[in-house]
């Protein structure tokens, strides 16, 4: 229990009456240690309050037990927090700790962040973006095990995990159909990003799967904020034959759609059903009536990314061929969150 001077592995060895090699073997769970030796080493560790110095371990073993987490933007939404929570919890369970760097969209900073991580001999690297998109991470990232989170490279040469947007769009639309709706509007985003394209694709395949003809009139494109949602909804309501339900690109635009519907004196969900996307608690749970929406699997992506890295790490050495397999491109499901708007 003496805290005054730093206890080293030498001290433990002396106290246990064994060599430092033996202590190290116990510490790392290596084979060929007698039960006796192990017991006395453990006792000595306990008594002395010994804690290994991480830097020394890293220096010699070339493994730091650190996972680097690089992200373009950290502060925009609770989404970022969910990713980091998933990643951090999983890392901790695996005995690893997270290094965090936020690059604020600065490619130079990104490069330098990756290099810093490598200097510190991180075991693996997560490169996360705050919305689903194609990305071009620094080349250096390929020197070590790494994984893209909420983004991907076009040639699929790096492991990647992203939400299954198409399935999300499909599920949302199907849910509306199952509630008897046949005429379903879609207020899409305007920019060409994966979510924009893929959710629409999901919407269309859901219609098709249920034998409902696609009507281009029912799809409007607006910036996905309350104003856009309001405006898009108004456009749909002004149709000669307006929809009885609307799928909104995200919760923020659904917020605007709510306003438009209210302003027309219509009720949700009796007159118009609404479904959103993102499950931004702050909005979806607080709207009245509560917004039914699709949840993005941020927490799960964080978990997956770290688990993937961990599995890569202990594959190293064991199965050299593994390095040659093509990197997984994983889609994670977006669960439906039912509230009262459908």
């Amino acid at each position: 229990m003496s805290k005054s001077t730093k206890v080293t592995i030498q001290d433990v060895a002396r106290l246990a009456g064994v060599g430092v090699g033996t202590v190290s073997r116990v510490l790392n769970g290596h084979p060929n240690v007698s039960a006796d030796a192990e017991a006395s080493v453990r006792r000595a560790i306990e008594e002395s309050g010994y804690r290994p110095v991480a830097a020394a371990q890293t220096l010699r073993s070339r493994r730091s037990n650190i996972i680097g987490f690089i992200t373009d933007e950290i502060a925009t939404s609770p989404h970022a927090g969910q990713i980091m929570r998933g990643a951090q919890e999983t890392a901790w369970k695996g005995g690893k700790i997270l290094f965090l760097v936020n690059t604020q969209w600065d490619p130079e900073l990104e490069r330098s962040a990756v290099e810093t991580m490598i200097d510190r001999q991180v075991d693996g690297l997560i490169y996360a973006t705050m919305f689903h998109r194609a990305a071009t991470p620094p080349q250096a990232i390929r020197q070590i095990p790494s994984v893209l989170l909420d983004c991907f490279v076009e040639d699929a040469s790096l492991a990647s995990v992203v939400p299954n947007e198409a399935d999300g769009g499909y599920q949302a639309t199907t849910y509306l159909i199952e509630h008897g709706h046949r005429r379903i509007g879609y207020i899409n985003h305007v920019e060409d990003i994966p979510a924009q394209r893929l959710r629409l694709q999901g919407y269309r395949s859901a219609l098709e799967a249920h034998g409902i003809p696609f009507d281009a009139e029912l799809v409007v494109e607006r910036y996905s904020e309350p104003k856009g949602g309001y405006d898009g909804m108004m456009t749909l309501l002004n149709l000669p034959n307006p929809p009885s339900a609307v799928f909104c690109f995200n919760d923020r635009s659904a917020m605007g759609a709510y306003d438009a519907i209210r302003q027309r004196g219509l009720r949700i969900p009796q007159d118009i059903a609404v479904i959103g996307f993102d499950n931004q608690e702050l909005i979806a749970a607080n709207l009245y009536p509560g917004l039914t929406t699709m949840q993005l699997p941020h927490y799960e992506m964080g978990i997956w990314a770290v688990e993937y890295l961990l599995s890569e790490l202990d594959a190293v050495g064991k199965d050299e061929a593994a390095a040659e397999r093509s990197p997984p491109q994983v889609l994670l499901k977006c669960p439906l969150v039912v509230r009262d708007s459908v």
Copy 2:
């Protein structure tokens, strides 16, 4: 530029035709290096693509250039992100990198997180909470320079930075008074937390400072969510002499207050002015009319915390007496964010 084998300081020394000591001195900006020597070392570093191995530096110098960041909850709100962004950016500028651990309110995990940080010889530690409160961080935190963020210990024995809630309440109330309101309601939170007590205190001193008598009838306590805000607002509106303006404990309760006001057929801000607290963009910017509110200085607290640690770090050794000064207890101002609700 050879990348094949790891370049060490020995290689650089050989290449530059100097000793390793000289290389190290150049690297660390130590004095007593001739211009010639420095130039050739720099050239050798450039040519060889040398990058120091962090673990070796840490082992010998006992400084890791890492700052530990421990937090109870990471994912609730954009607030967490703001703190981390401020901390991370400032750390990066100071040549440090952030270790992140999220303890999910688990005291055992907290202990173990602090120990892990110490094992890794972090230069300093930030202990952050996701709302302003009294905290009891693990004892071990006192072994190294550390700072509490958005929390404090009762005896002020650890440095701490928190929002100036009382001033925030004062500013908010004053802003309403300056807009001609004399009868101002306050929908407070119900639980006894610093924000609850201090914002009320600020409200009262603002009234007093402007010669408006305090009327207990105008202060109601509700849970600070939309439902509570709605309910509290209704209570105020039902008063024989209802207020012309209302200060809400936070933006979420303001959201509910909006609903109540609308439901009564009253207009914001013409009939009732509303001011919130927190500046949760997702709510405040998206409500109609935009909610005027007080912003919590999360980003700034993150910056302050790291800057404090950095200054502590280079005070070490220079001025031994500094360690004995009583740790600062800093209050950071909450700026007013003007939108259209007043």
